[in-house]
Symmetry: C2
């Protein structure tokens, strides 16, 4: 978890209490703002997004946004806490003993699923990186680099034990990232070229199957019949 330190929803012990019966107004508005901000930032980038439009989207006055988030940057960073959390919540338990084909197939599948379920997060992350990662540079240099090296060392061990073909592990991770995230980030291009309005389940399965087939075969692995 990156330590930007601005997503803890401090529910006050005293003070105004919710008007609504279902959950606090605070949490509700907080999430509405985050959701609105995600859409705005993903569509217009950090500089292009405006607090006013985020407020409009959330159905709140502009000043209320600044009541919850001290600045535009704090709001932006709060989104990345969520994204990075989402990102780290899988493939953390991979062991050398595991089956390479199973692990890679599951990894690819999971990434494609995230493309389908959280396209905005992926776009937001992509825009940030393309612009030089001005806000999350530290995270990449520390946690993300460590994560990659850990996974790479597992892959290297598999190669040493002849359990898969000798390919560069870091580039393999890049390949899985790029090929899967492409369907989220370049959604517009993919859908337009394929003449579709939006992704549907069968297409997600098709993408997942295609990438698994190519990449696993490329690694000298057999595609597992079931990717539990």
């Amino acid at each position: 978890m990156v330590t930007t330190g601005n997503i803890e929803v401090v529910t006050p012990k005293r003070g105004r209490r919710p008007r609504s019966e279902t959950g606090t107004i605070r949490d509700h508005n907080y999430q509405k703002i985050l959701s609105a901000a995600e859409k705005e930032f993903a569509q217009f980038g950090y500089n292009g997004a405006s607090i006013q439009k985020i407020a409009d989207r959330a159905g709140l006055p502009k000043a209320n946004i600044h009541y919850y988030f001290a600045s535009k940057e704090k709001l932006y960073l709060a989104l990345f806490d969520n994204i990075i959390h989402l990102w780290n919540d899988h493939l953390d338990d991979v062991k050398v003993e595991d089956d390479p084909a199973q692990v890679l197939a599951r990894f690819i599948r999971k990434k494609v699923e995230l493309t389908y379920s959280h396209p905005l997060s992926s776009k937001l992350f992509a825009m940030e990186i393309i612009q030089g990662a001005p806000h999350i540079r530290k995270y990449i240099r520390t946690e993300m680099r460590t994560w990659v090296r850990n996974k790479a060392s597992v892959i290297e061990e598999w190669i040493r034990k002849k359990r898969m073909k000798a390919v560069d592990p870091v580039h393999l991770i890049f390949l899985i990232w790029s090929s899967t995230q492409h369907y989220a980030d370049f959604e517009t291009q993919v859908l337009t070229i394929m003449n579709r309005a939006e992704y549907e389940r069968d297409m997600i399965d098709e993408i997942s199957g295609f990438l698994t087939e190519i990449i696993l075969t490329g690694c000298g692995l057999k595609v597992p019949t079931k990717t539990g």
Copy 2:
């Protein structure tokens, strides 16, 4: 070529002539502005870039930018004329008779080379697509879609003739796009994780080799020893 219609440099028949001996001032400034604009737009996105900063980068007064380009959007679109031209200038002569392995290997190599030589173009294009391609939607729906379908039909023919494994041709094109462009667009992430300052020739060759190996093997092809 997309028909934005704003890059024709109309050299006037009469009027002021260049101070410089080598080429006209007009062409010189025109290119300086385009170059400066490419950097600004790629770093800050359409909304985030400012005419003033583009002017500073080009070493010209702000009003001079508006003398050459009527509006911010016209300047932005002019960049895409160049990008799309760059993009279309390869793989247009592929025939069914060609060798699949040779063609795909050359395609991958060419794309990685473009990543190395024109990273800003790739970033600019990526940002545009992520934001929903508001300015080049028409180009994608027409020329780009046609391009993809043409290449896909060639690949389908190869598959029919058992010259390669039966994989989805359109997704194969997406895979080559995504995996190659990743190194341009996510340059910051890649370099940071690999602990490098910038790309060098040997790394470009390494990337090219890795992707060719995985993708061609994934397609049931043998990597050609020489990718003329």
